[in-house]
């Protein structure tokens, strides 16, 4: 089972899609152009601080709001390995899977983890932090196949023998 570890950035409840990417930056041409403005209404410095392989840990209802698919795309473009939250809004959940961004639900971690610490994740099994283990549910195989392929379009190409 895949294992990875990463440095944690901690966010609160109801992180909405306008926080993840404000409307005024949606007119920029590419997701790469938009990425520096991710989370800017809340923490303007955050996008520049996030490094490849980092992990976001948040509270309930992460990604609520708009259906704008740029939201998960930008989080992925920043190099975020996965988002762990108490719960995710449903449109954001689908959009993340479709863009190959790994999401993990866990009710407890957010309330104990400190920003800057490292956590270790064993996919579909558990998170380890400060000697404690936090169990996580496994995603169905078809959804993991989409994430591993890098998103729905790439997964369909693979399935149809086009790649």
């Amino acid at each position: 089972m895949e294992k990875f570890s990463g440095k944690v950035w901690v966010l609160g409840d109801d992180i909405d899609t306008d926080i993840i990417i404000p409307t005024e930056y949606l007119a920029l041409e590419t997701v790469k152009d938009m990425a520096p403005y991710a989370f800017s209404p809340l923490r303007p410095e955050l996008a520049a601080q996030i490094k490849q392989g980092d992990i976001i840990v948040a509270g309930k209802n992460f990604g609520c709001g708009s259906s704008r698919e740029q939201a998960p795309e930008i989080i992925k473009a920043l190099g975020v390995k996965c988002v762990i939250a108490k719960s995710f809004a449903r449109i954001f959940f689908r959009n993340s899977i479709n863009n190959g961004l790994l999401l993990i639900e866990n009710e407890k971690l957010r309330d104990v983890v400190s920003e800057g610490d490292d956590i270790a994740v064993t996919l579909n099994q558990a998170i380890e932090y400060h000697g404690e283990t936090y169990e996580i549910a496994s995603l169905p195989k078809n959804l993991m196949d989409i994430i591993n392929a890098g998103g729905l379009v790439k997964a369909m190409r693979k399935l149809n023998g086009l790649d």
Binding site: S40, K60, G65
Partner: protein, 415 residues
């Protein structure tokens, strides 16, 4: 075991006898709506496919409404891409006709349909008993190419309505009250179903306002029971129901809420969360810089009438910009005929063409640093209407108009 409305629509679209919450089904979609918020991204992905193909072009409706008329060279390019593609593929296309959900309700949606919209407020279509749900552009592309998608059957929350809203209290106050009660993720992944005797007191405009905002409680879809009011609306617009499903008597609801409409009061949702609701009276006196009457939630003729009634013969406060944006050209024409536009203009309001306007914080009327907006729009997230350090209060058309007159948050009974 009986089924809920949501379960029956999914079962019909999946071609199976029975479904239950938690099942995943491949469904045939009836209609696919997309707007200029993301269609350019869908087209980019479509053009990269090895075998690009549209399953059934008659299902597609594309609507330019977020930036109308366009406000920059970049949005002009995005619109051109959408317009050219729609023309080439003979896709039903609207530009400037109104906010997408209002245009869909006036021209396309019927009871029992299963509809994907690349916009979160697609759940509005439940007003006539259609299962509308918001998706991103990748899901939209998949549905456009295959005609199908997969759906997890949601659990259903049932809202049993009784009584009648008091005078001066609106459907907008009702749904904000419900969202405040269950929370911004209180219906996450779920369907919200509305029925009961109280429903008969709500017209289609009220029902759209209620269903449209259910995504702000996290709902996958919202559904109203189909009744004589639904049938009359559809008939007036030249349509028949596809199915007129009701939930079975023994259907399984995750929870049933009883809502007494007569107990609802004017409500305000404070920054920066839609579920941060209080009695409007608690916000009276809060300074405002701008007021907005419009959007897919509250820009219909009934909402304009409510505002006009409050402002007739009065003036907009000299320090307030009051934007009035009819939700569609049809609404605009009706408001012209009824003299409502004249009433707003004489009062000093800025009346604009139908579009999403400041509700989504682009194109028109965005607010600056530390400014305060009171709005009939859909959301009050931090930075939603402009500067990251600005503030949005949500309220009914009557409360918004009263506030525009006073220059601070006020209820209509204070005018």
């Amino acid at each position: 075991m009986g089924m809920t409305m949501a379960e029956k629509i999914i079962a019909a679209a999946a071609g199976v006898e029975e479904v239950k919450p938690g099942d995943i089904h491949t469904v045939e979609l009836d209609r696919l709506m997309s707007n200029d918020g993301t269609t350019h991204l869908t087209i980019d992905m479509y053009n990269k496919l090895k075998n690009p193909h549209i399953a059934d072009v008659n299902k597609l409706v594309w609507i330019v409404d977020h930036n109308v008329p366009c406000d920059s060279v970049k949005t002009a390019a995005s619109h051109k891409k959408m317009r050219d593609f729609a023309r080439e593929h003979e896709i039903t296309f609207y530009e400037g006709a109104g906010v997408c959900h209002q245009v869909m309700m006036e021209n396309h949606v019927t009871s029992g349909e299963l509809i994907f919209g690349a916009d979160s407020h697609t759940c509005a279509y439940g007003a006539v008993g259609a299962f509308g749900t918001g998706v991103g552009c990748t899901d939209y592309l998949y549905a456009m190419v295959t005609g199908k998608s997969w759906l997890l059957v949601p659990e259903t929350l049932r809202f049993e309505l009784k009584g009648k809203l008091p005078k001066g209290v609106y459907a907008r106050d009702l749904i904000l009250t419900i969202i405040g009660q269950i929370g911004a993720n209180g219906a996450n992944y779920m369907a919200m179903e509305f029925g009961g005797e109280g429903l008969k007191t709500l017209n289609i405009s009220d029902r759209i306002a209620i269903c449209n905002l259910c995504v702000e409680a996290g709902a996958k879809t919202a559904l109203m029971e189909v009744d004589e009011i639904t049938r009359a609306y559809l008939k007036e617009h030249g349509r028949e129901p596809k199915h007129a499903f009701q939930s079975d008597g023994d259907a399984n609801f995750a929870k049933v809420y009883e809502i007494d409409l007569s107990a609802i009061k004017p409500i305000v949702a404070k920054p920066h969360f839609v579920d941060s609701v209080v009695d409007a009276k608690e916000c009276v006196g809060t300074h405002i810089d701008e007021a907005f009457l419009g959007s897919c939630n509250n820009g219909r003729i009934e909402d304009l009438r409510a505002g006009a009634e409050v402002i007739k013969g009065k003036k907009v406060h000299p320090l307030v910009r009051f934007l009035v944006v009819p939700a569609s050209q049809t609404v605009y024409e009706q408001a012209l005929e009824e003299g409502i536009i004249k009433t707003f203009m004489e009062a000093g309001a800025i009346v604009m063409n139908p579009n999403c306007s400041v509700c989504w914080g682009s194109c028109q009327g965005v607010i600056g640093e530390n400014e305060v907006l009171i709005s009939t729009g859909t959301r009050n997230f931090k930075g939603r209407a402009g500067h990251k350090d600005s503030f949005v209060y949500l309220a009914s058309a009557a409360t918004v108009t009263a506030s525009a007159i006073k220059g601070e948050i006020a209820t209509a009974d204070m005018i």
